[in-house]
């Protein structure tokens, strides 16, 4: 995929200034505070913002050239909005097939039966949209977007309107869909937690400007993200996935975590810095069983003055730990030291 943006869009309080080139497949997460312009950016890419000026090109197609704009229906993308936006006069099936019917057969690369199975929609097909729960409606909206066979998928906080239980209902489907379809995705969120579950690339926006863009792991260790709750992501290989526990390999080291619904051989562990504790020796009679040998790379102040953020290197991957200044002094932790990082098995997602 190659998506090159270089445009301006005037908003009430600022002018949105998008100047970025996204080259890789996978999921690009667009992250930033409420009102920073995430939705506006997506809408501009979709061709829904007539005031937008500049260049947007996607895989050699010019979507926007100066003021000349290709209408949304001719851009090969699909968008899932914050609200499901199902068409209320159509049933679930007709909503699902709305874009499919409008895609020339030669260009269709998604199959309705597959999508219905993947998103578990078969029981809903005959319902009216008003009979769906929020989560069900979002699943239909996702399926509808996929069946447009887009070459780029725009997701605008598809989970924002849902409460905790609602999110739990839809997340597995979203993950499955994103992994299965292999369509490049631009995913908007203002919850860091959500973002890291999907994203390969992370784009941070502030006040209409793109502040930084890059791969997930390196972005997460940037100081801009500390205030959203420091976080690391460990890329692991799955060794055994049998029974209730999952065995993971991180270089030479091994971890065991409660099984997660994962496919494939790779997986990504999201570890919050506050869930990592450090010890000088391997702990013996503690309930914490995952201990990763690692080296301290950097020690930096944390938002709370009594705490420090410790950047570790575990088998070449960055891992952050948030501990008190007292503990740091007690254990005399310094850059370059070897330590054991304890991660509670249940703290891994």
């Amino acid at each position: 995929m190659s998506l090159t943006l270089d445009f301006r869009l005037p908003r009430e309080q600022f002018t949105l200034n998008a100047n970025v080139s996204l080259q890789s497949r996978g999921v690009h997460a667009l992250f930033g505070r409420s009102g920073c312009g995430k939705t506006s950016l997506l809408r501009a890419i979709a061709g829904l913002e007539p005031d937008c000026q500049g260049q947007i090109s996607f895989n050699d197609h010019h979507w926007l050239n100066g003021k000349k704009s290709l209408p949304p229906e001719h851009r090969r993308l699909a968008m899932v909005f914050q609200q499901p936006g199902l068409l209320p006069h159509l049933g679930v099936r007709d909503n699902l097939l709305f874009g499919y019917k409008r895609t020339p057969p030669a260009r269709r690369h998604m199959d309705p039966d597959d999508v219905i199975k993947m998103l578990d929609l078969s029981a809903l097909l005959t319902l009216r949209t008003s009979q769906l729960s929020g989560g069900q409606a979002q699943r239909v909206a996702l399926g509808r977007a996929l069946l447009r066979s887009p070459e780029l998928l725009l997701l605008d906080e598809p989970l924002a309107a849902l409460d905790h239980a609602g999110k739990a209902e839809i997340l597995p489907y979203l993950l499955r869909m994103i992994r299965h379809s292999r369509i490049p995705v631009l995913f908007v969120s203002h919850h860091l937690d959500e973002v890291v579950q999907f994203a390969d690339q992370l784009i941070l926006m502030e006040q209409g400007q793109i502040v930084s863009a890059g791969p997930l792991q390196s972005q997460l260790s940037r100081p801009e993200f500390a205030r959203f709750g420091a976080l690391s992501v460990l890329a692991c290989r799955i060794c055994h996935n049998e029974g209730a526990m999952l065995e993971l390999a991180l270089g030479q080291q091994r971890m065991k975590v409660p099984a997660l619904p994962l496919n494939g051989t790779e997986c990504r562990l999201r570890v919050q810095a506050r869930d990592v504790s450090l010890s000088l020796n391997r702990l013996q009679d503690s309930s914490i069983s995952n201990q990763l040998e690692s080296r301290i790379e950097a020690i930096s102040p944390a938002p709370h003055e009594a705490e420090v953020l410790i950047r570790l290197n575990v088998e070449g991957q960055p891992l952050q730990a948030l501990i008190t200044r007292n503990s740091q002094q007690r254990l005399q932790l310094e850059e370059g030291m070897r330590v054991f990082a304890q991660i509670k098995a249940v703290a891994i997602h």
């Binding site: 829904l48 949304p72 229906e73 968008m79 936006g85 874009g99 447009r148």
Partner: protein, 229 residues
């Protein structure tokens, strides 16, 4: 009171129905794009055009009728031009009162449609566009079914308001039986000729018809409001 209607009454009823149906049809055809533009257009002229469309709401029908007579008659810009091309001018003709009715009932078609378009919002259309629906496709498969209520209200009000037209037709129509003598004018003539029984029958008929129509419209409006997205 008896409700027997004379052949002349029946003729006027049929004529009125014809006038109302044609007016409604024309208004839906020209009112839809106009209402769309008023709802979503970005020109600075919108307020002015909206005021012009609404003029018949507040202008005495005699003013409208007076100017139309000047315009459509043989000395008028429109009527004169028609005459030059060997066509009849429009004063005292069915076509003339049709033009008058379209202008007179314009706000009753445009305003509910505009309202319906604004209430619908852009979201369903944007959703449809990102799913590959062209402008025409969106109109037929999204706007039309979702603004069904608005179209029903616009059609019914246009029809009903044309039914209630009097001043314009009085000045522009000439009370020609079968051509321009519609019910409202006939009722007036009956009343002036102290033919009260006939005036009563027709008035009562119209009162009941108008009430039933409005009752249905407002009932429908409530019902459609509830299925709105």
């Amino acid at each position: 009171m008896s409700f027997t209607l004379s052949p002349a009454d029946w003729q006027a009823i049929l004529l009125t129905l014809k006038l109302c149906s044609l007016t409604t049809l024309i208004l839906l055809i020209i009112g839809t794009p106009l209402a769309w533009w008023l709802a979503w257009g970005r020109s600075r002229l919108r307020t002015a055009v909206q005021a012009i469309v609404a003029l018949p709401l507040v202008l005495p029908p005699t003013v409208l009728g007076f100017y139309l007579l000047m315009l459509l008659g043989p000395q008028g810009a429109v009527g004169g031009t028609l005459n030059q091309f060997g066509l009849p001018h429009l004063a005292f003709s069915f076509e003339g009162i049709l033009v008058g009715s379209v202008l007179y009932s314009m706000p009753f078609a445009v305003q509910p449609l505009q309202q319906a378009f604004v209430t619908l919002g852009k979201q369903p259309l944007e959703v449809a566009a990102t799913l590959g629906a062209s402008a025409r496709d969106r109109f037929v498969h999204v706007t039309l079914p979702l603004c069904r209520g608005g179209f029903i209200v616009a059609a019914t009000l246009s029809f009903a308001h044309t039914l209630g037209e009097f001043g314009v037709i009085l000045m522009l129509g000439g009370s020609i039986p079968g051509e321009t003598r519609v019910l409202s004018v006939l009722i007036y003539d009956h009343a002036e000729a102290m033919n009260y029984a006939a005036a009563h029958s027709l008035s009562l008929g119209m009162l009941v018809a108008a009430f039933v129509v409005l009752f249905i419209v407002y009932g429908a409006q409530k019902r459609f409001d509830q299925v709105k997205p």
